[in-house]
Amino acid sequence: MAGAFAAFSFPFSTSEAQGIMGGHVTGNVQWDGQMSRRDSVIGASDVPEKILSNARADILYTNGNFSAGLRYEGYLGPMLGFDSKYSGQGIANYFVSYKTQDFAVTAGHFYEQFGNGMTLRAYEDRFLGIDNALRGIGVMYRPFRGITLKGVLGQQRYYWETRGLVRGVDGEVSLNDLVESWSEAKTRLTLGASFVSKYEGDETVMSDIPGYKLQLPKNVGAGAVRIDLASGGFGLQAEYARKGQDPSMMNNYIYKPGEALWVSASYSQKGLSANIQAKRVDNMCFKSVRSESGEMLYINYTPAITKQHTYAFLSMYPYATQSTGEMGLQGDFMYKFKKETLLGGKYGTDVHLNASLITGLDTTIVGGKGTDGYTSSFFGTGETFYGDVSLEIAKKLSSKLKLTATYGYVLFNPVVEAHAGDIHHNHVLIADLTWKINRKNVLRFEAEWMGSDSKYTAEVDDKRCGDWIMGLVEYNFTSSWFLSLSDQYAYNDGVGNYYNISVGYTKGATRLQVGYGKQREGIICIGGVCRNVPASNGLTFSLTTSF
């Protein structure tokens, strides 16, 4: 340990100044912008600034085991869908780090995840506009082979400020690395445990009883245990987390302890894979500031077990994880029919079947704010939140043509987005044809249809309702340019005609894209974490490069 700290100090010593010069600098830059003007049909508004722009530049300096970095961010003003609290510019992230195989320490901003994130996940997603980096100190230490210990202490990023106080420790034991006689065993077993706590000072939160306030816990802890077992093609992963009393805005200030269980079992062999996942989440929302109700300041994360769809109509209703309470089950099956078989044909056929179902919990209300809130049955289920089934068949028709055909069914309960309205039942058909004309020219066609029992009404104003068709043509030429045209049209019981055209150019690590069209109001989710996207109508551009 002493040696590690001695080495940590060397980049700053005068005698080793040339060592700093001997390092190297890497980075990347991203600049996105948009213009939008009023469109009453889709609900787009004029943008007072005319041009909105998000920009960021990451600079990383590395010299041996030492690294340091910073990130410039500028939101002048923030693009539509990004919180106005981002407005401004400056150095949003900076750190210094020293890392060896057995020891690492980072001071400044850093990201970390314990296990599946059920007690701690400090991460960022620039697409969602979420960054809950910890600003403080993080340490990793491997006292000997097979054991990894981590510790973190810091405050969470909150737009341009930091909030809360988070402390956490994590330990992981790889028994195959720890026990020498197990090192060559086919069965691999890793065990882990984590504990995270937050501190927040007292404040006055009145109860529903006049003249009485809540007694608030200043320190709230969450702990988890996990297992990762693999043997041959079989795999089993599980994590169970529990959280102490944590009254907050998110759970209407109730005191019921939280818990979450996630289990994943899988089997794979050449040409086949199967996976089944289940989870139960009960009052497991864990934020560093109890009064924060937005998407920021989450300390933990519960893994999403719905498929991250990529096609437009299947992803029109993404599922937002309900960390206050949900149960879910997902099955995923992939099979490749071999070449020169009846179903495989000349090139083989890939089949991908996925299904998931998410419900609420079976709860009994025992009180409101300032009480335990409710009790829940561990195996009982409540109302259905979300369900989907998708069957995707991908087949190479010839050496130049590849067709992917997909059928999907989506059941969506608007209550998960805190909206009123009936459950939507949608059927989706997709045909995706790729024609590789030659080595440098590729043409792709995509046609989608969605039939829904939902109907647009001005009262609910959900612009995703109705029956839709979509067409897309995408042409990649000379390996550098691409041109894309698409249109989504609500032909029955819906509103909106969303056309888009975009052109892009890529040279080396630099990519420029310019688009024009309409964006439907909706919600985008990545891994169950979501943000709202308002409607827009106008020009967009994006420039990315790295060095």
Partner: protein
């Protein structure tokens, strides 16, 4: 060696788990609540005659703090100089060992004083005397200072400004209860959520105090501006208002929670209106108890 590391790790985890979790005990009625002090019912008011901007000085002191009597003198002089524009509160808490009472002497510590000190980031190692004006922050932390020789640098910038909200207060005994009436008048539009805090302050308390020579204990030391309790909740009661310029609000706070140790003849009420989010004091007033 391996066993040592494993044992160390287990101890580390167990310690972290034990010390990092608070458990709130459930009340017999199934709630986790506690009396929050008088809440007050807000109604349309008549306005406030005195629209002065005043400053609140909170002093963190202690009977075992030998420099505190000097600070008391400096504050007394400053209060005279600012004649009604500055209001002082002396806080004795259970955090600082400077506040531990001497044997056979009055204990000036209060639960509310402890909550405030803790809320302002004071720890067992924080120096005394210290002070905070209007609960202002600097670089994200409460701007607590330790030198009392230039108090005007903290007070002048506040009282030289026009008040955004005027506050008036009146208090009266009522058959063992205490009735406090607070008037607010918004002189500018305010979008912040606001709270009003009513503190009971007592003068003329006798308690043993360590003197500046560091060893003499004055058993007849007279303590003034001593925080004795609050009529409202520790961090105040919510103000029901729109915050529009010109709005006038009034509320009556009535409490039977009057500590018999308080000598109400020597007590007065300090009322201050604060921003709920960061606790910054916008204005303050005081009154005798009729």
């Amino acid at each position: 060696m391996k066993r040592f590391f494993i044992s160390l790790s287990i101890i580390f985890f167990a310690t972290a788990a034990l010390v990092s979790c608070d458990k709130i005990e459930q009340q017999s009625d199934g709630t986790y609540t506690v009396y929050a002090g008088a809440v007050g019912e807000w109604n349309a008011g008549q306005g406030v005659a005195d629209k002065s901007q005043r400053a609140l000085l909170e002093k963190f002191t202690g009977v075992r703090c030998n420099n505190c009597p000097t600070a008391d003198e400096q504050i007394a002089t400053t209060l005279d100089n600012y004649a009604g524009k500055l209001i002082a509160i002396s806080i004795h808490d259970s955090i600082s060992s400077f506040c531990n009472p001497y044997p056979n002497s009055l204990d000036l510590r209060t639960a509310v004083g402890t909550s405030w000190s803790e809320g302002f980031g004071r720890t067992t190692s924080s120096p005394s005397p210290a002070a905070l004006v209007n609960r202002m922050k600097k670089d994200g932390s409460y701007d607590i200072f330790y030198s009392f020789s230039s108090l005007s640098t903290y007070i002048d910038p506040i009282i030289s400004q026009d008040a955004k909200v005027a506050i008036g207060v009146a208090a009266a005994r009522n058959n063992g209860s205490l009735d406090v009436t607070v008037d607010l008048e918004f002189l500018e539009s305010l979008s912040d959520k606001l709270t009003v805090t009513l503190a009971v302050i007592e003068d003329g308390l006798i308690a043993t105090q360590l003197l500046p020579d560091g060893h003499t204990r004055d058993t007849a030391y007279v303590h003034n501006h001593i925080l004795r309790g609050v009529v409202t909740d520790v961090w105040g009661a919510d103000v029901d208002c729109t915050g529009a310029a010109g709005e006038k609000r009034v509320a009556l706070f009535s409490t039977s929670n009057v500590n018999p140790e308080w000598n109400l003849d020597n007590c007065h009420i300090v009322a201050f209106v604060s921003k709920k989010e960061n606790r910054e004091v916008l204005n303050v007033a005081e009154c005798e108890i009729e």
